[in-house]
Every structure is written in structure tokens, then in C-alpha cells.
């Protein structure tokens, strides 16, 4: 207890001149020595790239010049981004992609977890099958879905024609209106097992006595879920949603492999757009500025994630 608070003190108060702080650091020099290697590694692989990206975001990098001949342009990259139509299009896509994927994957995962929490024959097999989308490679899954959606050879199109619902197979991923929903379906399919596993673990910790107490108190199945199970899963739900949101915000594999952001930016989200700007068009400066903005947004999400992990339960979800 004393060591923990003693160590936290200098960094929190950030008054290096305090005589006690230095002495405390010295007293805990062995502790610092233990964390030093990982700090050094983090400085090299995380802190420096972040610094370099921020630095680069103030420069213009014409493809005709070498990177060391970059031209300082101040905030111009940021201005250009915020004024471009593509930026708003991509941002809207990212919001739709993230929110829809997160909410639907969570809801499906919740449903699956509740269904699999009951004891029935074949539960173990079903559980194993439902985890498959999450464990297979995203690249492989993307290619499989590309074929499933294919306008000439796709299974979905063939089935729809066979059933007489459409005369021609629909073209899901070459249509600006359907491409994003089509990709979101793939993403949800891949992600809901994660939510399912998290919530199944959470469900196992719901105290049996509490459910029995509610039963004796006269609560029906729905009321037991709403008054006991659901509040108990609040923390694990928050963490799951935040992890899903961060993962979705950072998605790359599915949109990049299935559409590369097309057609006409209809399925570009931030990460694929940044990748294309940087490695497709060598616009390092603009890509860096994008990255800085993305970094700020993700740090905000990260802040809420850490707070949720801290188990802040003081807010009452009234009944």
C-alpha cells in the first residue's frame, strides 16, 4: 500500500523539484529498473512513430521529391482534409461502419450467449461452430465472402434468382448503395462470436442465489433478466462494446480486401483511406494528418475503456 501510493505520487503531482519525489524514485530504483526495458521498447516502437507522424503531418511530400526534402506547410494538410468532400464521405462511412457493426454484433452476441447459457443437447457443438467466424483468418473470410457476394457466381445471387425473388443476381459490392451494408454484414459475422464469448463468461458469474431470490420475490423470467442478469453484465458489456468499437474503427482487412474502398469511395473507412493516401499515392503528409486526427479520436475511446475497466459503478441505472 505504501509503496504503491509512494510511487504514484511524483508522476501525479508532476513537481520534480520536490525533495521527497527524487528520494522516493531513488528508494524505488529497482522497481524502475524492472520497467525500464519495456519503457525503452515502447519509446522506440510507439512514442517515436507518434512523434514522427505528428511532425510529418505539417509537411507536404510531393511524390517527385524524396522524403527528406519534404516541404513545411504548417496546418495546410489539416485544412485540406477538413475541406475535402472525401473526408466527410469517409468519416460518415466510418461512423456507420463502426456503430452498425458494434451494435448489431453486440446484440447478436448477447442473444447467442443467452441461448447457449441454457443447458441443451448439442450446446458444446453449437458453441464451437459459432466461434469459427472469429477464429478463421480475416483475409480468408474476406475472399470467401467476396465469392458469396459475386454478381455472376455468388451463392446469394443464385439463391435469390432460384427463389424467383429477383430476375438477375444483385450486385452487392459494385453498387455504391449496397457495398457498405454488405461489408458490415461480413464484419458482424466475424465479430459477434467475440461478444458472445465475453457475455457467456459474464453470464457464468451471475450469482445463482440472486436469481433464486428474485424467483421467490415473484419475478418472472423477463424480470429476472432485467433486474438481475442485465445489471450484472453491465461492466462486461461496456468493455465488450468499447473493444468492438475500437476494433471496428481500426478495421482494415475486410474493406481493403473485398473492395479496396470502392466503388468511388463508397466503402472507404478511415484506415483504408489513410493507407491508400500514404502507400498508394505517397501523400505522406496528408496521411499523417489523418492519422493524428484518428489517434485523437481513439485516445478518447481508450479513455472511456480504461474508465470502464476501473469498474466505475456509482451511476444508478434506475428501475
Amino acid at each position: 500500500m505504501t509503496t504503491a501510493s509512494g510511487r504514484a505520487e511524483p508522476s501525479r503531482t508532476s513537481k520534480p523539484a520536490e525533495p521527497g519525489a527524487l528520494r522516493l524514485i531513488w528508494q524505488h530504483r529497482v522497481d524502475y529498473a524492472y520497467v525500464l526495458p519495456s519503457i525503452v521498447v515502447m519509446m522506440i516502437v510507439i512514442a517515436y512513430p507518434i512523434y514522427y507522424t505528428i511532425d510529418l503531418s505539417f509537411f507536404k511530400t510531393p511524390p517527385s521529391l524524396q522524403l527528406r526534402d519534404k516541404i513545411f506547410v504548417g496546418m495546410e494538410n489539416y485544412g485540406a482534409i477538413l475541406q475535402s468532400d472525401v473526408f466527410w464521405r469517409v468519416t460518415w462511412n466510418t461512423v456507420v461502419w463502426t456503430v452498425a457493426s458494434t451494435v448489431i454484433a453486440f446484440a447478436l452476441g448477447f442473444g447467442a450467449a443467452l441461448a447457449l447459457h441454457r443447458d441443451f443437447i448439442g450446446r458444446g457443438v453449437l458453441r464451437a461452430i459459432l466461434i469459427i467466424p472469429w477464429v478463421i483468418s480475416a483475409v480468408a473470410a474476406s475472399y470467401i465472402w467476396k465469392w458469396i457476394y459475386h454478381s455472376d457466381f455468388g451463392v446469394i445471387g443464385a439463391v435469390l434468382v432460384e427463389l424467383g425473388i429477383t430476375s438477375r443476381p444483385p450486385n452487392f459490392i459494385d453498387n455504391v448503395n449496397t457495398v457498405l451494408p454488405a461489408l458490415i454484414v461480413v464484419n458482424i459475422w466475424r465479430e459477434f462470436p467475440f461478444a458472445m464469448i465475453m457475455l457467456m463468461a459474464g453470464l457464468q458469474t451471475v450469482p445463482d442465489q440472486l436469481l433464486r431470490a428474485a424467483k421467490v420475490d415473484g419475478a418472472n423470467a423477463w424480470q429476472r433478466f432485467w433486474h438481475v442478469t442485465f445489471p450484472h453484465l453491465r461492466n462486461v458489456s461496456t468493455v465488450t462494446i468499447l473493444l468492438l468499437a475500437v476494433a471496428n474503427f481500426n478495421s482494415f482487412i475486410i474493406p481493403w480486401i473485398m473492395t479496396g474502398g470502392g466503388p468511388s469511395n463508397a466503402s472507404h473507412i478511415w484506415i483504408t483511406h489513410i493507407y491508400e493516401l500514404a502507400f498508394g499515392r505517397q501523400r505522406w503528409g496528408v496521411a499523417s494528418a489523418y492519422s493524428v486526427l484518428l489517434f485523437l479520436i481513439l485516445m478518447t475511446l481508450g479513455y472511456f475503456y480504461v474508465r470502464a475497466l476501473g469498474g466505475n459503478e456509482s451511476k444508478d441505472r434506475g428501475t
Partner: protein, 365 residues
């Protein structure tokens, strides 16, 4: 309030008999303790009464209704759980109000009943708190309150004190006893602690292996245990049991040890021994009925001190007698030390004799 009748109650899980043909009656306003070691079927019995698990066979009556097929909420019962089972995200007020909300009472009625219960249990000042902001004793009081607001026919309590520390347990013990007296409530109380049963209950039902062993007032169970299990379970320290061999008959009837000594029996005890199914007899004696001598006395049996446990006002001596450990209590002024030879004198009127084969208490007639 109402009486509860269990008729030939059976609960099986596969081939395992958790509750075996248990029949007992709990009178209106009576405090009955179901007591026994872990896995004896006492909690299963309580859950059967509550309706949390279905009965395999037999009948449960609460009041004059057979409730076998009723849901817990329709049985007019309230239950208090071992770990309190308070809804963690609800305030104390909302915890107390919950069973009333489920019964669709009006807001005013709920408020009145909650505040009444809070006043009875002296926790009006806690109503706005969350369960985690309360001590264990306060949480248990809230759990009692949640049972109380329902005004049920029967209170079912499942080891309500076993999560509390020793001091608080003693205090809550008297609170629950007071609760029973003030409300004249019918209470079925499950505990593995025979002391709780003895101190609180009007009658105690001792269970083992799914069977009801003895159902009687604590004093009667203590004085006349029906078999060796009850004898060794009730009382602290437990009754000492020494397996011996019967010898002689009539005036010469005695118990003989492989160690070579014999204990002559009184005429009444001789008649008891004569009714045994074999020559194997188990001698039972409570610590307070054995006299300890530091030198050989006529009628006293030699034993060797194993350990000495001073508790302040009395000292417990454990001694080896014919291969068994015997507990004796002596005044703190008596000093003995381990491995010392002592002589034990048994009170013929207060010893218990058990059949070594059937383990049942032997009766004179």
C-alpha cells in the same frame, strides 16, 4: 402465518437420494431448525419447500394447501439467503420494494410497507444506501427486511449467519430470535451449526444422508439422542463414543475393553445392554458427566491424557480410552498434563449406550 407439513418427501438426482422420505410438521409460529453436516439434504429440503426445485415424490403443505406444483411466488413464502442475495445495483429501499413491485402494489402501499419494515429492523437511516456500502450484519438485516415486507406465511432461512464473523453471528442470532418472538413467525431455518439450532429453535430436525434422524426440542435431542450420529453431532464438544464389548449378564453385566478393564453396569443399563443385537456396545458420555481423578479410585477407569485445552473458566481434557478420544471438562483449578495417567468415573444415570451394530440408542424398556 401458517403451519408447514412435509409428507414422505423425496428428492432424487439420478440414483442419488438427496432427500429420503422426510416427514415433519412445523406448527404455526414455530421456529424449526434443519441441521446437519454438508450434503445431509437440509438445504435441498428448504429449496423444495420454497419451490426452487421440483419434488420427486411426497407432498408439501403450507397452511392447508398442497403447494407441490406452485411457483415460489405463489407459495406465500419469503427466503433469506446465506450471502444475503441483495440486488447490488438497487438501493436498500428498492431492494425492500422489489418483491412488492412484483406483486403490483401501489406506490403508496409499497412506501408504507418498506418504511414499516425499515422501522422494525432499525435501518431507516440506511434506505438510500447501496448494499456494498453496508456491513455484513446490515446487509443481512436488509435481507430479513426484504422477507418481512412480504408478510409471508413462512420464512425460509438458508444459513443466514454463516457469512458473518463470530461476534456478529452471536448478535444476529439474538436479533433473529427476537424477530421470531415479536412477529410470532413460522420459520424454517437451515444451518450446519448445531449451536445455532440449539440456541434459537423451538424444535430441531437433525438430518444426515438425506434422512431425518431426530425431530424434537433441542433439550430433548441433547438429552436423548436416538442414535450415534445425533449424539456426536449435537453438543459442543461432541459426545465421546467408546466402542466396547458387553460381558456377563444380570448383576455381573459389564462393559469390557480390549485394554483389560471392565466397567460394571447398573441394573437399568444392564437391561439396555441385554437388548442389543450383538455384544458390541458403544459407550457415550458428555464431557460434563465424566469425573476426572488423578489417582486410582474404585469404579474409575484408567486413561491417558492426550491434550489439555484451557478455555478460561473450564478446561477441556482429551484422553485416550480404549483407542478412542474422550472429552472431559474440569474446573480451571485442576491441572493435568499430556501423557499423564488419569482415572475416569462415569455417571451410570447419565451415560448413553448404543448398539454397536445398528448404531441406535439402547432403551431399557
Amino acid at each position: 402465518m401458517a403451519h408447514v407439513v412435509l409428507k414422505d418427501l423425496v428428492k432424487t438426482y439420478g440414483s442419488f437420494h438427496a432427500v429420503n422420505h422426510v416427514s415433519l410438521t412445523v406448527n404455526d409460529g414455530e421456529f424449526v431448525a434443519l441441521v446437519g453436516p454438508s450434503g445431509c439434504g437440509k438445504t435441498t429440503t428448504l429449496n423444495l419447500v420454497a419451490g426452487l426445485i421440483p419434488v420427486t415424490s411426497g407432498d408439501i403443505m403450507i397452511g392447508d394447501r398442497i403447494v407441490n406444483d406452485l411457483d415460489p411466488k405463489d407459495r406465500d413464502i419469503a427466503m433469506v439467503f446465506q450471502n444475503y442475495a441483495l440486488y447490488p445495483q438497487k438501493s436498500v429501499y428498492k431492494n425492500l420494494a422489489f418483491p412488492l413491485q412484483m406483486r403490483k402494489l401501489t406506490k403508496e402501499e409499497i412506501d408504507r410497507k418498506v418504511r414499516d419494515a425499515a422501522r422494525v429492523l432499525d435501518m431507516t437511516h440506511l434506505l438510500e444506501r447501496k448494499p456494498r456500502e453496508l456491513s455484513g450484519g446490515q446487509q443481512q438485516r436488509v435481507a430479513l427486511g426484504r422477507a418481512l415486507v412480504r408478510d409471508p406465511a413462512v420464512f425460509l432461512m438458508d444459513e443466514p449467519l454463516s457469512n458473518l464473523d463470530a461476534k456478529l453471528r452471536v448478535q444476529m442470532r439474538s436479533e433473529i430470535k427476537r424477530f421470531h418472538q415479536d412477529l410470532n413467525a413460522t420459520i424454517i431455518y437451515v444451518t450446519h451449526d448445531q449451536l445455532e439450532a440449539v440456541t434459537m429453535a423451538d424444535r430441531m430436525a437433525v438430518m444426515n444422508g438425506g434422512f431425518l434422524q431426530q425431530y424434537d426440542a433441542p433439550a430433548e435431542v441433547f438429552a436423548n439422542p436416538v442414535n450415534m450420529f445425533v449424539a456426536s453431532f449435537v453438543g459442543s464438544p461432541a459426545m465421546s463414543l467408546v466402542p466396547l464389548e458387553a460381558s456377563g449378564s444380570g448383576d455381573t453385566a459389564a462393559l469390557t475393553s480390549a485394554e483389560g478393564w471392565t466397567l460394571p453396569l447398573s441394573a437399568e443399563n444392564a437391561r439396555k445392554v441385554a437388548r442389543a443385537t450383538s455384544r458390541k456396545i458403544v459407550l457415550g458420555a458428555r464431557h460434563s458427566t465424566i469425573r476426572l481423578h488423578k489417582s486410582a479410585e474404585p469404579g474409575a477407569i484408567p486413561a491417558k491424557v492426550y491434550t489439555v485445552e484451557p478455555t478460561g473458566d473450564i478446561t477441556f481434557v482429551q484422553a485416550f480410552l480404549s483407542g478412542s478420544i474422550v472429552n472431559i471438562s474440569v474446573p480451571a483449578s485442576v491441572h493435568v498434563s499430556p501423557d499423564e495417567m488419569i482415572w475416569l468415573e462415569f455417571d451410570q444415570a447419565r451415560i448413553h449406550l448404543f448398539d454397536g451394530e445398528t448404531e441406535m440408542a439402547l432403551k431399557a424398556a
